[in-house]
Structure formats: structure tokens, C-alpha cells
Amino acid sequence: MKYVKRSIKKVDGYGILSGKPAYTDDLAPRNSLIVKLLRSPYAFARVRKIDTSEARSLEGVECVLTHEDFPRIPFTRAGQGYPEPSPYDKFALDSYVRYVGDEVAVVAAKDEQTAEKALKLIEVDYEVLNPVLDFEFSEKSPPIHPEDGISGVENQQNNVCSAYEMDIGNIEEELKKCAHVVKHRVYTQAQAHVMMEPHAAFSYIDYQGRLVVVTSSQVPFHIRRILSRVLDIPLRNIRVVKPRIGGGFGGKQAVHGEIYAAAVTLKTGKPSKIIYSRKEVFESSYTRHPMRIDVTLGSDEKGVLKAIDMEILSDTGAYGEHALTTLMVAGSKNLPLYNRVNAVRFKGKVVYTNHTPAGAYRGYGAVQGNFALESAMDILASKLGLDPVKLRQLNMIREGETSPIFKIMGEGREGAEMTIKSCKLEQCVELGKRIFGWSEKFSKRPESGTKVRGVGMAIAMQGSGIAKIDMGSAILKLNDDGSFNLLVGATDLGTGSDTILAQIAAETLNVPVKKVVPYSSDTDLTPFDTGAYASSTTYVSGNAVKRAAEKMKHLIVQHGSKLFNCSEEEVVFNGEEIIGPEQRLPLSEFATKLYYSENQTQLCSTASFVGDEAPPPYMSAFCEIELDTETGKITPVRYVAVVDCGVPINPNLARVQVEGALVQGIGMALYEEVKYDSKGRLMTNSMMNYRIPSRLDIGDIEVHFVESYEPTGPYGAKSVAEIGIDTPPAAISNAVYNAVGIRLHDLPFTPEKVLKALRVKEGF
């Protein structure tokens, strides 16, 4: 392989690092109207009256929109396959506001100051309602969505947004037969994405009267569809462009400000732009779903797992974006890890509260589920007196095996059957164990003193796209100099997917990567793609690119044979030249001829791909922490991760994906605390108060790969974007247990919580 499995530089890196205008705000027309949103100060209220007259008459204000200005069309902000598994429980603007930060009115003005001023001039008469702030009591509280006209909600009266249940075998019976049964309950927090670029979008009407929206989004095609629905204009009249994105992590897998900028543009005919403040990103985009998870494990005498039961209560906040699917992924991306059990039960509910809505976030439920399951595994191991590594080795899934869960649980619907064709989890565990020095470290009991060390481990799996739902496609276009344009709908959000897709095309065509010019994404120019989420781009869009490149190769041969006047079988294209029985032509000359003089034809290939399955990447994680028993502070010392992501197309970029995800997971485990006040206001709504890990807070991180070959992936590749985030909560909590004998249930493990647990243990 010449161009894949190579750590080439990111194709867009140079320009971005040189500070070239590349992100949404850099590209917005200078005369854009500034769009600002009036947001609810109450967690739950009804807008009785709204008076915008003063705001409207302020000089420089171009328009003010309230719920009366929007057609009452229910929709979901979630950018997912259509029809979405998320309920249509939101309106562009509504007379109810359901969390602090919910949209009340839109202002557009000539500049920021005027817009801010206008916001203050809007008079709203609120009927303040009692908010539901504790998700464990939500079902018994008055409905947050009593309104008519919404759909897809499981039970509006009880605040149950979604629910799901499945079982295999007889769980109760199996558990009765088990020699050992452990039960474990955990809570996870509403982690914030904190991508460095806040949500940003601008829109304008082009010379033909079409609406153009440029947005920092992971899902331009979903944005186009949703805008068409909400603004009630034909899809063909909308063009959505995604420039470079400053990170997303799932936070941009939805429409956010686009609707409001577009509505202003449609109303005024003028370019308008909306840039979320950091506070808005925290309060009014969305978060990870906080969950309460109960796990019950049963095993025989020797530690062979016989039954797994998982029950979840998930908090989706005010709206049900990604509610059902994150719930299901918490099960479907964890339970198959231990596939040889006799019985599995999974059930869960997602309830509404008057908090910031939850949505997609790297890991997508899997990280929550992993925390519960992999902590419970360690509890079982210690009950059995078994090395936790042994317990995993005894029970974990292997290559050539399957799990009924793949078929039963998809995302929001049935999944797809799959026999695991590539799984080097055993090797990941073995290698990780060795590199980390597990056996020695684990057996050594921590010394006394106030700083105690401990080690912990966990394993994880994820998916590669969503089987039978996620579609990626690609267009390859030969240029007259022999280079290619690669047009993909897949959205590089900073991950390097443009580079990886170019590498795949280059490998297939056998041309240098620099001859492939990738472009993503523009709904007018690039072919359909569901978007960058669910670890899909390398696998799904990569396969589409590979197919398109194969077709292109064939086209070149076909047209070569025409030119040389011979049969196709006699022509070879080797990447540089087209070789016939008597002639050979460099690709560039061939292309020039083809476009300017002979058999004039544009060569263009297009292909799509939908996975029949979503082959999981796997990983093992080993970590060492130091715990200050006097303050309760946990300091990460070392984290060794060994990943099987198939063949890494670009090993550097794969490594950085895992490193980045691990650090985000460490942040979730240790630092990223979310606090609301008693009125339902998010207090941790700034980067000053919501601290993400700095480079000094993460310890040493080592990422290794065990290569497998996934036959259904492009050049053997699987995904790698999410898996890294799954293990830190469990691995760190296991390390804490092994250090000081306390079991942490509640994320994040702040010094204060750790200290409390220590004191309980000491019998204070």
C-alpha cells in the first residue's frame, strides 16, 4: 500500500495553521446583519404576551421575530437519518419556554451593540411554571410537553420522551442460577462539548433568489432538509455550505442558529449571521445525556458471565434530540463485549426535564454504558478474587463470533446481523497489559502515606457508522491536467477526514495524494452524505470513495481503449500512464486530449455506500492514578490504550483521534462538573467555570495499535473517532478502587466526592 497506512500531513493543515480565513465567521459578508436571540430566563414558562414595538423602532434594528412570525411546524434539531428516531417536539419559536436559554425572540440589527440593546427592549410577560429539575422525579411531574401537534413522544403526560426494552433468554432465571451476582448503579453528568469554535452560521440570498446558508455543521444535508421543513421552502432552493469547522464532537450534529439567521435573511433579503456566545454554547446548544444506569452481572463459580441486565434512566432535558438512540447505544455498544452470556436484558427510559437539552456527543451513550458495565466487571472480579484482566479475557468477544444484540438493537430501530470479521481485542488486552506492566503494578498493594497510587483497566467497543442507515457518497472528476477533484458530502470537522478520503482515492487510483483535491461539503456541489457522526466517515464515506475511484479507473481504461482503438482488456492504467498494446500516454496528456481534442468526454464517477454492518473497533485501556487521601484529588499518571481500528489509513491522525478522545474522557471522569442552581439555571456556563483538562492535567498517554484487517472496510479500515472516549470513567474509577478501596458512582470524580467516599469508608 502506497498511500494508505501513511502518516501524510493533513491537506488543509497548512492554510489553517497559517491563519487563512477558513471558518464560518471569517467568510461572512462584512455587511451581515447581526442576529441575536432573546432567551428565556426561566426554566419553564409560558409567554403570555410579548411586546417588541420598542425594539423594532430602535434605529439600526432590521427585524424582530417572535413565535407569531414562524409557521407552527414541529421538528427535531437532531441531524439524523430520516425519518429521525427523535421526536418532533420543538418549534422554531414557541409560546412555551422549557429551559433557561430557550429561544423566545430573534433580533437582527446592523451591529452587535444595537442587537444587544434591542434584546433588552423586548418586553415579555411570562407565566412562570414549576420546572422539573430532577430527572428521577420527572415521570411523576406535570408534563413539560403538554402541547398538541408534536409527535414521536412516548408518553407526553408522564414526561417520557422515549423508551426501549429487549431481552434475550430469561434473565431472572439465569441470575438465580449464578454463583455470583453483583449490582452496581452509576450516574453520569451532562458533559459539554467545548469545541473551540462556537456554533456559527450566516445566510444570504444569491442572485437567483436561493437561500445560501454557510454553517459550522457536521450535517449539512440534514440542515438543508430541516431548514426546508421548518421554513417551509423547497429543498431545491436551499444551499448549505460547510467550510472548515473548529471542532464538533457531536455538538454540531444538529441545527442550532441556522434557522434564525435564515429566517432573518428570508424576511429582510439581507445577509445575516449568528455566532453563539460561549454562554449560549453551554446553555442553549446541547450536552451529553446524563444517565442513571443500573447494571446486574451474574457469573458462575469461575467467573464465566451468564447474565447481564442493564437498566437506564436518561435525561434528555427540554427536548428529545438523540434521546432514543443514545439510550440504545449505551446498551448496543457495550453489551456485545461479553457475548457468550445466556441472558441479557436491556431496558430504559428517556425523560424530559427543564434543563439544557441533551444531544449527540462523541461516545453517544456508549461512554455512559461503559462506565457502568466496566465498573461492574471490576466489582465482580474482586468478588471472585480474580485479576480484572483475567475476567475480561475469560468473557470477551472474539473474532469470528457474533452477538444477537447486533441484530436486535440498532439505533432507534432494529439493527443488522453481524459476525465479527475483525477483532483483535485479545491482542489489545495482552499488549496493553505488557506495555503497562499490569501484573506487577496490580499485585503491588499501595503503600501507605497520603499519596496513593492505583491501577485500573477497562475495555471498549464502538461501531463504524450506523448499519443500513448511514450513507456516504463520492464524486471523482478527472481534470484536464490529470488531477482529480474528489467531492464528498462527508464533513471534515477537524478530524482529517478530507485527507483520509484523498488517501483512499489516491491508493485506488495509484496516483500521488496531491493529485486528488478533496472538497467537502456543499449541498449544491457535493453528493449526499448523512454527515460526520457515529464514527462513520472513514468506513462509510471511505468505502464510497474507494468505489468511485474504482469506477474512475475503469472509465479511464474504457476511454483509453477508445483512444487506442483496441479492446479494454488490452489497456492498463497504472496511475501514471494509460498503456495500450502499441501506445502509452501519460495521464495528463490523456486527459488533455480527452477534453480538448479526441472523443471529448468528461470523466466523472460517482458511488455510494451503506454498510450492511457496522464493524466495531475495539480497545483496551490501562491507567494509573495517584490519589491524595487528604484532599481527595485524583491525578492521572499514565494511560495506555491499545486500539484495533482495523488498518489505520493515516496512523498519525488515528493516534491523535484516540489521544484527543482519551483526554476528553479524562475530563469527563475527573474535572468537568456541571452545576445547576435551584431555579434550573446552568451555573457552569463559561469556560472560566467549566474547566476542561489542560496539558498538565492528563498524565502520560500512550496509544498503540493492534492492526486487524476489516474485509468490509476500505483497505481494511474501521472507525476510530469515538472509541477513545469510552474507557476513562470506568478505568479511572477502577484504579481508584484498587488504590483506596472506594467505589465511585457519580461522575465527575471531584476531590470533594472522593473525600466524602473516603470518609464513609473510614467510618466518619
Binding site: 487528604e630 484532599t631 484529588k633 474535572y671 462538573e673 452545576k675 451555573m683 457552569t684 467555570n689 474547566r691 483538562p693 489542560s694 498538565l696 492535567d697 471531584t750 476531590p751 470533594e752 473525600l755
Partner: protein, 259 residues
């Protein structure tokens, strides 16, 4: 975000002072790094950068730091490499971020009595005078107790002495405000103890130093005393209860260094 209507750069402290007192809605501008914390509209911003207050000098056992010196100036000055065994330098170099320290001024930090300032906790236990243009010299001890002064802080003067000082800080991440900071200074039988980030501004203890001076060395007794006399409050970083506990831990650690 705050707003400002006018901006001036006076050439002397006298001129700055006149503007400051004659305009009740004016504000002195140091590095400007904390302005984002304010939401007010200010009539006049008075920038001191041309008033020659950016200096650090050492003479006759006194170190003078001009109010417009940045935290980085302190961190990088040769004077503080040695003074107090490099402790001042070390404490300052752990504050928030390099970028911030390059702009935040000593005057701004001291004048605003920022609760989260580690620097102030340390200064509180040293022999420090705060020098104002009009009011003159005030000891840091008095300054910390005074209501805000409508005067211009010119410099702080640290007297070098052979105090034995220990500084302790507890943060949740390296790039953060402290949950608590604590400094203990000892000169023979005299003790000073300051606690900052309570989350309020650094406070000097009264009873506990006395206890120590009287020769009490029972750790539990002195820790309990300190925890009793210092008020703590809740904020997003920690509860008052936890702060109280950490205060005891840090105090114990500090004492082990100075006793």
C-alpha cells in the same frame, strides 16, 4: 461585557489621579485582563501605561514593584529569582496562564483584591506596604481590611527579611483558580497566616498565630483554631465545608515546612 465611553492615557500619576477623582464613573486601567468580568458602562477609562509605573527595583532591603508591572515582570525579574528563595517567583508563575500574566498588572491584582489571587495570599504574610498616590503608605494588613479607596495605587514595597515562608495552594486543574490558597510566615516566635480563595479575598488569621506564638504545637488544636476563625463560602469550585477541610490540610503542610 462592559462598555466604556472615553479613554485617556495621562502622562503622570497626578494627572491620572485628578481625572480619577473628578470623574466618579471612571476606572483605572491596568492590564485590562479582568474587565470582562464587569458588565457596567464606564464613563472614562484611565490607562496608566505612560505613567512610568512599570519597574521592579531593589535597594536597602526593599523591593519596589511599580503598579503597572505585569505578573510576568515579577516572574522574570532577577530580583525575585533569589528573594524569598524564589518563592514569589514560583507562586506568581503558577497563576492562571502565561498569556494572562503577560498583561495582568500587580497594581490591578492588589487594588481589586481579587479573591482568587494566589499572589495576594502570599503578599499578605510578607512585610508589604501598599503605596497610594494620595493616601500614602498603607500596610497590606490594613489594606486588606479597608473599603475600596478612590486613589491610585502606585507601587507595592516588599521588605526583605528572613521570614520563613510556606505557600500552599489547592487547585482542581492546573489552569484554574484555586479552591484555596494559604501562606504561613514565621519569624522566630511570630507567625502570620493568610488564607485566600475562600473564595473571598485573602484574609489574615488573628487567633491562630497567637496560639502558635504562645508555643502551642498541637496540630489538631491549631488547625481547628484556624478553621474556626476563617470564614469560608460555597462557590462553583467547592463547598465551604470542603474548603474548611482543605484549609486544615494545607495548614498542616505549611506548618511542617516552617516549624
Amino acid at each position: 461585557m462592559f462598555k466604556a465611553v472615553d479613554y485617556v492615557r495621562p502622562k503622570s500619576i497626578g494627572e491620572a489621579h485628578d481625572l480619577f477623582v473628578s470623574n466618579t464613573n471612571s476606572q483605572i486601567l491596568g492590564g485590562g485582563t479582568y474587565l470582562y468580568l464587569s458588565k457596567r458602562t464606564i464613563q472614562l477609562l484611565i490607562d496608566l501605561q505612560e505613567t512610568s509605573l512599570k519597574y521592579i527595583s531593589q535597594k536597602d532591603g526593599k523591593i519596589r514593584i511599580g503598579a503597572m508591572s505585569t505578573l510576568s515582570d515579577v516572574e522574570e525579574s532577577d530580583i525575585f529569582k533569589n528573594a524569598f528563595n524564589g518563592l514569589v517567583k514560583k507562586v506568581v508563575s503558577d497563576i492562571w496562564s502565561y498569556q494572562l500574566r503577560n498583561a495582568a498588572t500587580v497594581g490591578g491584582t492588589v487594588y481589586s483584591r481579587l479573591g482568587f489571587s494566589e499572589f495576594l495570599t502570599l503578599l499578605a504574610v510578607l512585610d508589604v506596604d501598599v503605596v497610594f498616590h494620595n493616601t500614602g503608605v498603607i500596610s497590606i494588613k490594613d489594606f486588606l481590611k479597608m473599603p475600596p479607596l478612590r486613589d491610585i495605587l502606585k507601587e507595592i514595597v516588599i521588605t526583605e527579611n528572613d521570614l520563613k515562608v510556606s505557600f500552599q495552594v489547592f487547585k482542581r486543574t492546573h489552569f484554574d483558580f484555586p479552591v484555596l490558597s494559604l501562606a504561613v510566615a514565621r519569624c522566630d516566635d511570630e507567625f502570620r497566616i493568610a488564607v485566600g480563595s475562600r473564595p473571598g479575598c485573602a484574609l489574615l488569621a488573628k487567633d491562630t498565630p497567637k496560639l502558635l506564638s504562645e508555643g502551642c504545637r498541637d496540630l489538631k488544636t491549631v488547625c481547628d483554631s484556624l478553621i474556626r476563625e476563617i470564614p469560608f463560602a460555597d462557590d462553583l469550585r467547592a463547598s465551604s465545608e470542603y474548603r474548611r477541610h482543605v484549609c486544615g490540610v494545607l495548614f498542616k503542610r505549611a506548618l511542617s515546612e516552617v516549624l
